[in-house]
């Protein structure tokens, strides 16, 4: 299946950014008809390497050859012409164009000098069908969920006939298990056709499922390239982070102690909160010192529930009681004043304010809570920023660095710091570990539990069920936009949760 013909060869690649050596003397090769996983923590240099291949960044040193010829891609479009097409980590599509237009843009079929739109539609439909996605391609992209958008991005990359190298940067991070399966089928098919695939992911299971070889980077350096079947998982993890993972063990111990506590003090009571077309009315109690997990498949209504509670979306039924006051609905500002915070799911569009500095991103929610005229003095702002940079271990050269220059995991920590700075009593974390390396992931999970230990109420939402189960004392399970069960104590285990999600509701059992 895998032949040894080298398709893409990168040798001795070095890339400097101001103050950081993002890549130093990295070698990498991709064979025709192989799936080659590129692994490493955030900031290891994976994305930079991809940017070098696709012509976004120019390396200071080194050489790239494609089928034996030296290439100098100057832009992603240039790379595409050479046969290298890429699905970037963040969905890079035009939300206000139709699905078909998004897929065909740049490779339109022209007939009589006009774009042949019926052809584009048919083509888009057929490409999506390969991925088992059956949607109306004439509707605008923004009408669809993030996961569908991701599939569209992949379909777009496949729309290039002469693709030799396909790069998938975290393609699965917003897909559910079934969609991942579909994607893998397509990858295997492409592989058979002799296309070389570079696959970047944080999911170790997925790597072992599809990858032929694995290349590990750490801090911009090549650690090694291995045949997948000769590399034990533990060794892979070890080589990625360079240290043992003792974090995860202590995590379950910590949670154990948290669960032992008997007295619970309610922070918020949610009654029949709902919104037509988005989520069925649900009741919920949120307690201090407790991690409450929201479980369910992607699109089951987890984030929508969080948005209704925090008040970014306005519910049309029900009430919320917090600090002895009953509200028909909250708003972000009212939430802040009541000590509630939300780390949103979509970090790029709902979380970070890219052109503001780390300091400004940290203090902004605190400032909003204090009002327009109680401006936090500069000195105090730096104190707050420095405190959280240190305590959350945020990797940034200075508090004045623009947040867009930080890696995903560090951006997430800044958002976390933003809410901790407001002295939240209740923090909702929506996918706080998405697209983040294992080291930081464990750090964040640990932080979640220690926040609960301090007496804060936490809602924890994640697509990775074992992560929710590991961290939560109690869980609300959602399916098809409604709450189907609430689990407590020993019942919070993977098997139970999976069964409920798969269709056995508490009601049916009774």
């Amino acid at each position: 299946m895998v032949n040894d013909r080298v398709l893409l060869q990168m040798s001795n690649i070095s890339k400097m950014f101001p103050g950081v050596k993002a890549l130093s003397n990295v070698d990498f090769d991709l064979r025709a008809g192989e799936i080659h996983a590129l692994m490493g923590e955030n900031g290891a240099g994976k994305s930079t390497l991809i940017k070098v291949i696709t012509g976004v960044d120019k390396p200071e040193l080194g050489e790239i050859t494609l089928e034996g010829n030296i290439i100098h891609p100057a832009s992603p479009r240039d790379a595409q012409k050479l046969g290298i097409s890429t699905v970037f980590q963040e969905v890079n599509l035009c939300p206000n164009l139709s699905v078909a237009e998004n897929i065909s843009i740049g490779h339109e079929t022209i007939r009589y000098g006009f774009i042949n739109s019926s052809d584009a539609k048919a083509k888009a439909k057929q490409l999506l069908k390969q991925l088992d996605v059956d949607i109306d391609v004439t509707r605008t992209l923004a009408d669809y969920s993030v996961s569908i958008q991701q599939m569209v991005a992949i379909a777009r990359a496949l729309n290039i006939d002469k693709t030799k190298v396909l790069i998938l940067d975290e393609p699965t991070s917003s897909l559910d298990a079934y969609e991942v399966r579909k994607l893998f089928d397509v990858m295997l098919k492409l592989k058979k056709n002799g296309i070389g695939i570079i696959f970047i992911t944080h999911f170790i299971d997925q790597v072992y499922e599809v990858a032929d070889r694995i290349t590990v980077l750490r801090q911009g350096k090549l650690i090694g390239t291995y045949e997948t079947n000769t590399l034990p998982r533990l060794k892979l993890v070890y080589s990625m982070i360079g240290k043992e993972l003792e974090n995860l063990d202590s995590l379950s111990k910590m949670k154990g102690e948290l669960t032992k506590r008997t007295e619970v003090e309610p922070f918020m009571q949610v009654k029949a909160l709902g919104s037509k077309g988005s989520i069925q009315p649900f009741d919920l109690e949120i307690n201090k010192g407790e991690v409450l997990g929201f479980g369910g498949l992607l699109g089951s209504g987890r984030s929508e529930a969080a948005h209704l509670i925090f008040g970014v979306d306005i519910p049309d039924s029900g009430t919320l009681t917090v600090n002895k006051k009953e509200y028909r609905h909250l708003s972000p500002l009212k939430s802040i004043l009541n000590g509630i915070g939300l780390c949103p799911e979509d970090r790029k569009t709902e979380g970070i304010i890219s052109d503001l500095t780390v300091r400004e991103n940290i203090v902004i929610a605190l400032q909003v809570g204090q009002g327009w005229f109680q401006y936090i003095p500069m000195k105090k702002q730096y104190e707050i920023a420095d405190k959280f940079i240190q305590s959350l271990n945020i990797n940034t050269p200075s508090p004045d660095q623009l947040i867009k220059n930080l890696s995903g995991g560090n951006q997430q920590k800044v958002i976390l710091a933003r809410w901790l700075a407001t002295h939240v009593k209740f923090l909702i974390l929506d996918e706080p570990t998405r697209g983040i390396d294992i080291g930081t992931k464990a750090e964040i999970q640990k932080m979640v539990i220690s926040l609960a230990e301090e007496g804060k109420a936490i809602v924890f939402i994640s697509s990775e069920l074992d992560e929710v189960v590991r961290c939560s004392n109690r869980m609300m399970i959602m399916r098809d936009h409604q709450k189907v069960a609430e689990l407590e104590g020993d019942k919070v285990n993977l098997e139970e949760v999976m069964q409920i999600i798969a269709g056995r509701s508490e009601l049916e059992k009774a």
Binding site: S331, P344, I353, L356, A365, V368, R418
Partner: protein
């Protein structure tokens, strides 16, 4: 070569530096072809000269640019400032009346009411943009069209002359040998700076301009921030309107503030504030306004034929924009690099 390149790169990161460089270049050009340009004479205890003229004639534009900066930073634009200038002048003039040496309304009240009307114009724009959700260009285009009509209704379609001397102080008065309008600019700048940088307003404006969705999640009230930005922009246009009508001693519904909206937007852009919103700099916009004004003065004083004035102005603006463009600097940078390679 490498040094030059790195200097270009370093300078490039600071857009303010480029606008100052452009301003200095224009002034230097004047110094060479027209040495008299920098001559400042004292007449009756007032300073006179081309430099003083630039500041004095540029005052309305500088005030306007400060207001426009706020709106642009939220990711919007205000096309109606020119007509608002005309409306303000008309309101002030009609309140003062046409009698020689006297006024129908106390001067303070007349100016305050005129500024109030200007702020109301801005408030109206703000309501359309923030509450009704009309796109800024379209929303302010409504007042752009309506504004001149309103101004002409107030002035009955004629140019109204003012004969009340105390009113002339804003546009043509002097205080401690310097034009009063300069002090107005300074005051507006200081107040605007304090109001944006010593309250959280400036941070909110930038935050919304960069990412309004994420700003909503942090609890920022986008609607009120935008409403305030447009209102303040209207107020600034009003101040500019008072200076202009005071300077020409009349109100002209048709021509007062004509094309000023474009110069104001250009000043903001030249000053390094991105028209897509976000980070802003009042100082940059003021320098931008000075570039435009000194260009106009230069063109007049060097005797460029009037029919090519617009072209010369466009050319200089084009050059400044090139200097500020990151892509252009990269092009130059790689050009220098490849030449270096050839030498080796």
């Amino acid at each position: 070569m490498k040094k030059l390149n790195s200097i270009i790169q370093k300078l490039g990161s600071n857009r303010l530096a480029w606008s100052m460089f452009a301003l200095a270049a224009i002034l230097l050009f004047n110094l060479i072809v027209y040495p008299e340009f920098f001559k400042i004479t004292i007449l009756d205890g007032h300073l006179y000269g081309s430099l003083v003229d630039i500041f004095r004639n540029g005052a309305p534009l500088m005030v306007l640019a400060i207001g426009m900066t706020l709106v642009v930073a939220t990711g919007g634009v205000d096309l109606s400032v020119g007509p608002v200038i005309a409306v303000t002048g008309a309101v002030a003039t009609s309140l003062i009346g046409l009698e020689y040496g006297s006024t129908n309304t106390p001067l303070f009240l007349a100016v305050a009411l005129a500024l109030g009307v200007a702020a109301l114009c801005g408030f109206w724009n703000g309501i359309l943009v923030s509450r009704i959700g009309i796109q800024p260009i379209v929303a302010t285009l409504i007042l752009y069209v309506a504004g001149r009509g309103v101004a002409q209704m107030i002035t009955n379609g004629k140019i109204m002359r003012i004969f009340y001397e105390p009113y002339f102080v804003f546009g043509s008065g002097y205080f401690l040998s310097l034009p009063v309008s300069l002090y107005i600019v300074l005051l507006v700048y200081i107040v605007a700076w304090l109001f944006t940088r010593r309250t959280s307003f400036g941070l909110y404006v930038e935050s919304i301009g960069i990412n309004s969705e994420a700003s909503r999640f942090t609890g920022i009230n986008e609607k009120n921030v935008k409403l305030l930005a447009y209102t303040l922009c209207g107020l600034c246009a009003g101040i500019a309107g008072i200076i202009i009508s005071s300077n020409v001693k009349s109100a002209d519904g048709n021509n007062a503030g004509l094309w000023y909206e474009l110069d104001a937007i250009l000043s903001v852009a030249l000053g390094g504030t991105s028209l897509s919103g976000g980070r802003f700099s009042f100082a940059g916009s003021i320098i931008g306004a000075l570039i435009i004004q000194s260009l106009t003065t230069t063109i007049y004083s060097t005797g460029v034929p009037p029919q090519v004035i617009m072209l010369v102005k466009a050319l200089v603006v084009f050059l400044v924009s090139l200097l500020q463009s990151e892509n252009f600097r990269k092009m130059i940078g790689s050009l220098l690099n490849s030449r270096k390679g050839a030498i080796q």
